[in-house]
């Protein structure tokens, strides 16, 4: 073989670990061929239960692989080790120089009679979830459906969560005497059970299913303890087994899995195994982080290195059904002489156990339930000296971490690596740290620690608003709120420098408006406004403006539609339906704006605030009123929300939507706050965005009634308005919020900071003080006088503005760009 011919690496399996290996070797000299049994591209199986939130595969998809031959839907059916050839199901043969087995695992299904009946599923792939959904939708039980999950471990609780998301009340059946027996001890599991049972789960521990039978459309399960459950769906998630059905004549580990050495190499030196199908020195791991570590090892070996598997950190931190659970190190205190320090606060709903060595000097492990915020600080200390203060009940965890402590266990990144990157100036924020060290790109639980390390390294991220204020927007908000200052001049004289600019003036104007300081074009505020707010319309490229009257929820009478049509016709305005279910009229000059609005206000319209950093629209689908599938009145709620929050000035624009059922026709999860109807009430999602960086909104509360929903939205919006940066949408704000969604929930649902009453009062004041801005202009000759193109020739049209016709409407003539010398 000529030297220049690249060697071929065949990877069997396109799961998360196989995908990771190919990603690492993408730019190497290897020619890479991947066999994937599923026809889908690789996806994030760890986040599988979140598929139920959107039923959108793309949300789970991993970054597409480049630089390899990806054979999707091609199962590898045999390997001829003598000829070094892998054969695919289609008959295709690929010769290899190196072969990596990354076949993953298969669900373990206990031999319960009836386990193959229709309605019984496993929980492993996106297709499994689609099948479970089909079973649930076909069930004819009135009210909530009933399901059983066999297995109360990590995977079982994930499956139960997925069922809940489909409107099923799950029974969780676990053979061991407690939930999550591998990760959590008895005390922690007791609390976990109490917390999840509040969420419509029924937990049966210390028992198993003895039979499943079909009874008409129902499934009847009998448990070993004598209970009989009437069910619509059964899900097996009692663990996984390494998948080794591809027989290569290689030795397997004692509990299954292709047996490999510390270099992840099988007895055949050309063949490696990684991930859940591998038994490294006899031990198989069912977690993704050790799988990633194996991928790193093999990539290094294939690049001529000599790395070996460092041993796995099987620590876990996760949120199951909204409950924090973390387990690390020797969680069950199996080390000889190990001591336990337990703080079990049943009132607060938190449990923590630290396991230390017999001399109480070395941290060995621990379990946290209910609040796992200490996990990022504690886990790196395993095996290290434990600060005495930590052993005091209720001690705050704030300890210096040794340099070799692993901060990111998904990618085995140490504190040293991170601080080196920061000190060398390679990374100055979390995003850059993620890019250059990969820390924080796995499960993300170490992101707060990354922020802390940045601060410790002396990285100060300036959040000064602009050259005139050293304060952030949030700080200015608090200053203005506390000092009750009402003018920009007074504020900048006391707290800033200079005369202000196009950044701080509109930002302060927005804060003043959020705090209720009268009309935004009042004497001292008008000069602060950007042109859109100053003319209460949207500036277009030719210097004209567009006009959007409010159409709450997108519902409009024929009479009002006619008025819009007549106004557009009479003023020669171009009309277009917006994405927010209203109508935009383009091409109005500043002189025309008051005349147009006089007609609109007389017909009962009011400002739509399309020009403002404020609530835009609340989109809706037609809901139960018309739709055969709707489960709630989405239009009614959308109108109620739009009328409640109209005119609310915020750091950036706010968009919302209400969908009347899980089909989500109103696209609520792309909104700052989106509501989706359930059979029991409403689910509230926050932090969604379309735009430049699309983001699906996160579920904040579920199955709440309208009153509770509005209370939570009130608090959420006011908390955002108080704390966000200028022009920071809720999506970016939420991403950057310390503690993320959990913290947000603690603040606006659990009222951990004790500010909810204040937030609600602020919103109540906004609602009661609302007045239509355009009516305010029409009723005030002072303000009206500002709407002139030329102060010395009122009513004279601007000679630079001209129109041409396109598809039957007027559109602007492209302007010449004069005298720009570049």
């Amino acid at each position: 073989m000529a030297e220049s011919t690249p060697k071929t690496l065949v990877v069997i399996g396109n799961g998360m670990v196989g995908h990771r290996l190919v990603e690492i070797l993408r730019d190497s000299s290897w020619r890479i061929v991947v066999f994937g049994e599923e026809s889908r591209p690789a996806y994030d199986r760890v986040a599988l239960s979140s598929y139920v939130d959107s039923w959108t595969f793309a949300d789970l998809e991993l970054p597409p692989l480049t630089g390899c031959e990806l054979r999707l839907g091609e199962k590898a059916v045999s390997v001829d080790r003598d000829r070094r050839v892998v054969t695919g199901a289609s008959g295709v043969e690929v010769e290899y120089d190196a072969l990596v087995l990354a076949t993953g695992s298969v669900p373990f299904v206990p031999p319960v009679p009836g386990r193959d009946l229709p309605g019984c599923h496993v929980y492993r792939t996106v297709d499994d979830l689609d099948d479970i959904r089909a079973t649930v939708e076909a069930a004819d039980r009135p009210g909530r459906h009933s399901g059983m999950v066999l297995g109360g471990g990590l995977l079982g609780l994930e499956a139960a969560n997925a069922l809940r998301g489909m409107g099923v009340s799950p029974h969780v059946v676990e053979l061991a005497p407690r939930l999550m027996p591998i990760q959590v001890d008895e005390g922690g599991a007791g609390l976990l059970k109490r917390l999840v049972e509040k969420l419509d789960l029924t937990v049966h521990t210390g028992t198993s299913a003895s039979s499943i039978e079909r009874d008409g459309t129902r499934l009847i399960a009998r448990l070993a303890n004598g209970l009989e459950l009437d069910l619509d769906v059964v899900v097996f998630s009692a663990g996984i087994r390494p998948r080794t059905d591809l027989d290569l004549g290689l030795e397997l580990g004692p509990r299954g899995g292709y047996l490999v050495d510390a270099a992840c190499r099988t007895a055949d030196p050309r063949i490696f195994a990684i991930g859940e199908c591998a038994a490294v020195e006899g031990v198989a791991y069912g977690l993704v982080a050790p799988g990633y570590a194996m991928a790193e090892v093999v990539a290094d070996q294939l690049s001529g290195g000599a790395r070996v598997f460092p041993g796995a950190d099987v620590s876990t931190k996760l949120k199951l059904l909204g409950v924090d659970v973390a387990s690390f190190g020797d969680a069950h205190a199996t080390t000889e002489g190990a001591l336990e320090v337990v703080v079990n606060n049943a009132v607060a709903g938190t449990y923590s156990k630290l396991v230390v060595s017999d001399d109480a000097r070395t941290l060995l492990g621990g379990v946290l339930v209910g609040d796992a915020s200490a996990y990022p600080s504690l886990r790196p200390l395993v095996g290290k000296e434990v600060p005495a203060a930590l052993l005091q009940p209720g001690a705050a965890v704030d300890v210096e971490m040794p340099a070799d402590a692993q901060v990111c266990s998904c990618h085995a990144v140490t504190k040293q690596t991170i601080t080196d990157a920061v000190r060398a100036g390679v990374a100055c924020d979390v995003a850059e740290l993620k890019a250059c060290t990969k820390a924080g790109t796995g499960c993300g639980s170490c992101v707060p620690m990354l922020k802390k390390l940045l601060t410790e390294c002396g990285v100060e991220q300036s959040n000064a608003l602009c050259e005139h204020f050293t304060h952030s927007r949030a700080e200015l908000f608090e200053i203005i709120r506390a000092t009750r200052v009402t003018t920009f001049s007074a504020l900048i004289a006391k707290h800033g420098t200079g005369r202000g600019c196009d950044i701080c003036k509109p930002a302060v104007a927005s804060i003043l408006a959020s705090l209720g300081n009268g009309h935004i074009l009042g004497e001292t505020q008008a000069s602060l406004q950007d042109t859109n707010d100053r003319f209460l319309a949207n500036l277009q490229r030719n210097g004209t403006y567009s006009v959007v009257p409010r159409i709450p929820g997108g519902e409009i009478t024929p009479e009002k539609l006619i008025v819009i049509g007549e106004v557009a016709r009479d003023f020669g305005l171009y009309t277009k339906i917006t994405g927010g279910q209203r109508i935009d009229m383009f091409g109005a000059t500043v002189d025309q704006l008051p005349e147009i609005w006089r007609r609109l206000v007389d017909a009962g319209f009011e400002s739509g605030h399309a020009y403002g950093k404020s609530l835009r629209t609340v989109k809706s689908c037609v809901g139960t009123t018309w739709c055969r599938y709707g489960v709630q009145d989405s239009v009614g709620l959308a109108i109620e929300l739009e009328l409640r929050y109209r005119g609310l000035r915020s750091p950036h624009k706010l968009k919302s939507a209400v969908s009347g059922c899980a089909r989500e026709c109103a696209e609520a999860r792309g909104k700052d706050f989106g509501v989706i109807a359930t059979e029991n009430g409403w689910n509230l999602y926050v932090g969604g965005n379309g735009g430049f960086t699309p983001r699906h909104a996160d579920l904040l509360v579920s199955d709440v009634d309208t009153e509770e929903l509005i209370r939570v939205i009130d608090r959420f919006l006011m908390f955002y308005i108080r704390t966000a940066d200028r022009l920071q949408r809720t999506s970016v704000w939420l991403e950057g919020l310390d503690g993320g969604l959990d913290h947000l929930r603690e603040v606006v649902v659990d009222d951990k900071l004790g500010i909810c009453a204040e937030l609600e009062a602020a919103m109540a004041a906004h609602v009661s003080d609302y007045a239509d801005e355009w009516r305010g202009v029409l009723e005030d000759p002072e303000k009206l006088a500002r709407f002139t193109s030329f102060v010395n020739a009122p009513g004279t049209p601007d000679p630079t503005i001209s129109f041409r016709a396109e598809r039957g409407q007027r559109v602007p003539v492209q302007l010449g760009i004069p005298e720009v010398v570049r």
């Binding site: 050259e467 001049s489 005369r499 600019c501 701080c504 003036k505 000069s527 102060v791 010395n792 760009i817």
Partner: protein
């Protein structure tokens, strides 16, 4: 000479536009310290006649108006664009006589 408006019509840091007999347009600004400035109203980056509707403030202490279209800052005293030094807008002479603002 073109009459713009009575001086008392002007508000500090809120521009107005005036039409000249030849059809061209001028943006007139009163700053907080009481000085008057007049620039071409056409924003050279967009071609739209909108500079009078920009936010007035300062950059590093230099009084500026910021175009409402693509946000470039123009020095009120010289018309120079601070974001792209090769670009500038024409400056007009403006005065107040008998309480009336005039372009000369």
């Amino acid at each position: 000479m073109t009459v713009v408006c009575d001086f008392e019509v002007l508000r500090p840091e809120q521009g107005v536009a005036a039409l000249l007999p030849d059809g061209s347009q001028v943006a007139v600004f009163l700053t907080a310290d009481g000085s008057l400035h007049a620039l071409d109203n056409i924003d050279p980056f967009s071609g739209a006649a909108v500079l009078s509707r920009g936010i007035v403030g300062d950059r590093g202490g230099v009084p500026v108006v910021v175009s409402p279209v693509y946000k470039q800052a123009f020095e009120l005293a010289t018309g120079k664009c601070l974001d792209e030094p090769s670009v500038s807008v024409a400056v007009h002479r403006v005065r107040v006589r008998d309480g009336v603002v005039e372009l000369t």
